[in-house]
Every structure is written in C-alpha cells, then in structure tokens.
C-alpha cells in the first residue's frame, strides 16, 4: 500500500508538469493563446509550424547544437575543474581560503552580458582562425560563470566534515594525504552535485549569450539572434525550442548521474 502510493508520488511529480505543458501546447496550437495575448502567428508561430521547421532543417540545427554544446560542456568542464582546484587551495590554506572565496563569489555578481563582450575583445589575438578564436572566447565566458559555484561548494565539501571524523583519522595515524583522499574528497562529492545543479543550467544560458557577442556566426544562441534580426520569427522560435530541449536534456542527464553516483548515501 505504502509502496504503491510512493510509486504514484514519483510518477505524479513527472506527470503533473508534463500534463500542464501539454495543455499549454494545445492552447497554443488552437490559437487560444494568441487571442489571450493579442499576438499574431507571424511573431508567435503555431507549435506545428515550429516543429515542421525543426524537421526540415535538422542538419543545420544539429550543426549549431554541436557548436553550442561544445561551448557549454567545454566551459562547464573547465570551470568546474578550476573551481574545484580553487576549493582545494582554499581548504589547504584555510586562513586565506575563506576570504578568498568570498571575493571570488563576487564574480558571480557580474552579469554574463557584461563579461561576454569583454572576454571576446581580450581574446581577439588568440588565433588567426575566427572560428577557433570565437570558440575560445565563448568557452572562457562559460568557464568564468561555472567556476564560482564549484569553488564555493568544493570548499564546503572538503571542510564541512562530520564531528569526530578528523579525530577518527588521527587515531588511525592517517597521513595528511590519506585524510585528503579518503575523507575530504569523498565527502565533497554531494557538494559537487550541488554546484552542478546551479552551473549545468547556467552553462547553457551563458553559452547562448556568449554566442550573441562572438565574432564567428555559429551556435543555437546566435541563430536565435540572427533570425530575429531577419524577422524570421518561426525559425528563431525553432532554435528557442531547441535551446530549451538542450537545457532540459543536460539537467536530466545530471539528475540521473547524481542518482547513480550518490546511490548509497541515502
């Protein structure tokens, strides 16, 4: 009985939002939404039309998806790695570490819109190939934005230990190295996921925004902009839908891997 209601709980947490979304699409497709908002089908095309465009332009869209994913995942990986190492440094030099991280989190307050053009400008001499130089600038934007969440959470994960766990290691005559790898690092794993829950959706957003300002015209975000400028709203909407799908897919992948990797921790 209890197990059944539990299973229903799990299903319903998915079912309700999906049902709401379906209802929304139906309202949209039937034109009720347009009447409500006072919009026309030129600026807000019907879902059927958007999906036709996606279907017809799949190869071009996939090329742009690949470019955006490279930026988002490349920046996420680089930023998370640097962030974790910063957290390690802060944990090793605890006297300076905490203050340093507070300072670093000030980076979080800088809007992406502001740093994207700056980084773009700073890296203009990186390569003679506009594609490579743009890619580098875009990845750098995502790196900066995903670094801070990871460094702060990594520091917490490496230092917020259960009471007596350090005493236990000392009573076993553990070396500093052993304490680090057998206690602090595994202790930080759930905190890594806390950071990723912030920075995975964030990396898609910063990738899209960074493309707006990049020199080389490629990527889902850039296509949204280009098509709006050309008043091809239906195509712009197709890319918006694709961007949403990318964000949802990445977040789902994160939740699944978290489930698997943190299975035992309860």
């Amino acid at each position: 009985m209890n197990k059944q209601s539990n299973a229903w709980d799990q299903i319903s947490t998915f079912l309700y939002p999906v049902a709401f979304g379906a209802l929304f699409v139906v309202l949209w497709q039937t034109g009720l939404l347009h009447r409500l908002l006072g919009a026309d089908t030129f600026t807000l095309p019907l879902p059927g039309r958007i999906f036709t465009i996606i279907e017809e332009n799949t190869p071009a869209i996939m090329g742009n998806v690949r470019a955006t994913l490279t930026v988002a995942l490349g920046g996420l990986a680089l930023g998370s790695l640097i962030g974790y190492l910063l957290g390690v440094l802060a944990a090793l030099f605890s006297k300076w570490g905490k203050g340093g991280l507070t300072l670093a989190s000030a980076f979080n307050a800088i809007p992406i819109i502001a740093i994207a053009p700056i980084l773009n400008n700073l890296t203009k001499d990186f390569s003679t190939d506009a594609n490579i130089r743009s890619m580098f600038a875009k990845i750098l934007v995502v790196t900066v934005t995903s670094m801070v969440a990871m460094s702060v959470n990594a520091y917490r994960g490496l230092t917020e230990l259960k009471p007596f766990s350090l005493d236990l290691m000392r009573s076993c005559a553990a070396s500093g190295r052993q304490i680090f790898f057998k206690l602090r690092v595994p202790n930080s794993v759930p905190f890594i996921f806390t950071a990723l829950r912030v920075s995975v959706p964030g990396c898609i957003i910063s990738a899209l925004v960074s493309e707006y300002f990049a020199e080389y015209i490629v990527g889902v975000g850039r296509q949204i902009r280009e098509n709006i400028v050309l008043a091809q709203y239906a195509t712009a909407w197709a890319y918006i839908v694709v961007a949403c799908a990318m964000g949802i897919a990445l977040y789902a992948a994160l939740l699944i891997s978290e489930r698997i990797l943190l299975k035992g921790r309860g």
Binding site: K162, S165, R170, S171, C172, L183, G264
Partner: protein
C-alpha cells in the same frame, strides 16, 4: 580468535601489569569569553591495569572526555604525563595501538558497513586478503555479519555503533577507548549493547577505558569506576566493582548492584 593468542607484553620489558599510568595530569583550555583559562582537569593520578575494564563517570564538564582524549593523544596535557606501556600516547597512536569509539558512530556514508570496518586497515596498507578476513571476523564479533553490504543510512543507531566498535577493533589495538558510545541510543538498545560489549571484551581481552555519564551503566560494565567531579575536573573516588563475571542484565536487580550504584553516586563532590 586472532587477537586472543597475543600475550600481553610490555615494550620496556618490565611487566608491572600497568597499561596506562597517569601522573599529576592537568589540562587547561583558554576561556572563550576572557583571557583566563579553564581547568578541565587538575592533578589526575590514575593507574589502569592491563586487561581492565575501567569507566570514567561524571557529569558534563568534569573532564572525562578530555581525559580519554589525552590518553588517545587527541589532546595535549598542560602538565603531568600519560604513559602507555612505558611509551608516550603519541608513539602509541602512531603505532595504531588505540581503537576509539566516539559518541556518534562516525561512519562514512559513502561506504558500506564492510568498507567502513575496512577503512583503518586500508590506511595501514594491509593486504586485501587479510583485510577481507578481518572484516568478516569483526562483523561476526558484533553480530552484523549479514549486514556488511548495508550503507549507514540503512542501519539503526545501534547497528551503526556496532559497526563503529568493529572498526575500532579491526586494527587489533591494545587499548579500546570508548567515549559515551551508547549515550545516543534508546534504553533497550543500550542494555543489549552493554551485554554484547562485555562478551566482546571477554573474547578480545583488551584494556577498555569507557566514558559515560550513566552510573548504572558504568557499574554494570566495569572492574573499577573512576568518579570525576567538575570545576575543576578531578578524581573524587575510585570504586572497585566486585560483582562476579560473566555478568548479565539480571545483576542489575541484585542488592549488591544497588549498593555499588549508591556508592558511586555518593562519591560526587560539588555537583
């Protein structure tokens, strides 16, 4: 049992039967609110015999945990000395001669019961085969052989603390130090674990130093009860517990047990 074969032997070659000698020990902490210091322990003199089960009992703030931590080299003395088998606590700690059970089980929640028990042996770099065998022996000793695959969150508080005891014994320490290990457990589980601990002790033949604030628990378990009084922390009495062994829970209903509990209770000063 593997550890029962080992005969007690001193490193100094002279066997006077004393496992831990505490001489004129004082520990002071800086006070948080002023420049003064707080006397956690003053002028402690105590000899703990090899193989003895000894309890440190007293109210909060009497320094019983501090005394245990000083023996374990987790706290430095301000004055006086602690000698364990003629050696310093630090030497003994680095040779992994202490097994410690803390107030909370301190299990790593990313490790199963087996791998938690295994952890100190991994730190020592023991071969895998030996680790696996010892883990099974230890879990058997605390009656958890069937639960080795469980993660901490899948176990009750009593089970978790038993894993903690198995882990403390896994490195075959000479001395078992227990800091209020059962204080967070319910009365029924505590009584059961008290009885189990005595049977483990009778097999493993360790010297046990057991900190508690529960007088009945200390009388039930111990050969001697050391009564500590607070402000400043000091030994106010040492009560010999001459109840016959092996002891079972029924001993708690005897008049002799009641008389010993009263004796311990009446030994407190300034509480």
């Amino acid at each position: 049992m593997q550890f029962a074969r080992k005969l007690p032997k001193t490193d100094t070659g002279v066997d006077d039967g004393i496992e831990i000698r505490i001489e004129n020990l004082s520990v002071r902490f800086p006070d948080k609110n002023s420049r003064a210091t707080v006397d956690a322990l003053t002028g402690i003199n105590l000899d703990i015999r090899r193989g003895e089960f000894i309890s440190l009992v007293g109210p909060s703030g009497c320094g019983k945990t501090t005394l245990l931590r000083t023996i374990a080299d987790l706290q430095a003395p301000s004055e006086g000395t602690v000698t364990v088998r003629g050696r310093t606590p630090r030497e003994m700690r680095l040779q992994k001669k202490f097994g410690i059970v803390f107030q909370s089980p301190v299990l790593y929640d990313w490790r199963t019961a087996r791998r938690n028990v295994c952890m100190p042996m991994e730190l020592m770099g023991l071969p895998r085969k030996q680790r696996t065998r010892t883990v099974s022996e230890m879990l058997d000793l605390v009656n958890l052989l069937g639960s080795g695959h469980k993660y901490p969150h899948q176990m009750s508080g009593g089970m978790q603390q038993r894993v903690g005891i198995a882990r403390a014994l896994a490195t075959q320490p000479e001395i078992l130090l227990m800091d209020e290990p059962f204080s967070a457990l319910d009365e029924f589980t505590k009584e059961k674990l008290n009885e189990e601990l005595l049977s483990i002790w009778s097999i493993a033949k360790k010297t046990v130093v057991f900190v508690t604030h529960n007088i009945a628990e200390s009388v039930f378990l111990s050969d001697r009860v050391v009564v500590l009084s607070p402000h400043p922390g000091r030994v106010s009495a040492v009560v010999e517990i001459d109840l016959p062994r092996p002891r079972h829970l029924a001993v708690r209903d005897t008049p002799a047990f009641g008389a010993l509990v009263s004796r311990v209770r009446n030994s407190f000063e300034g509480v």
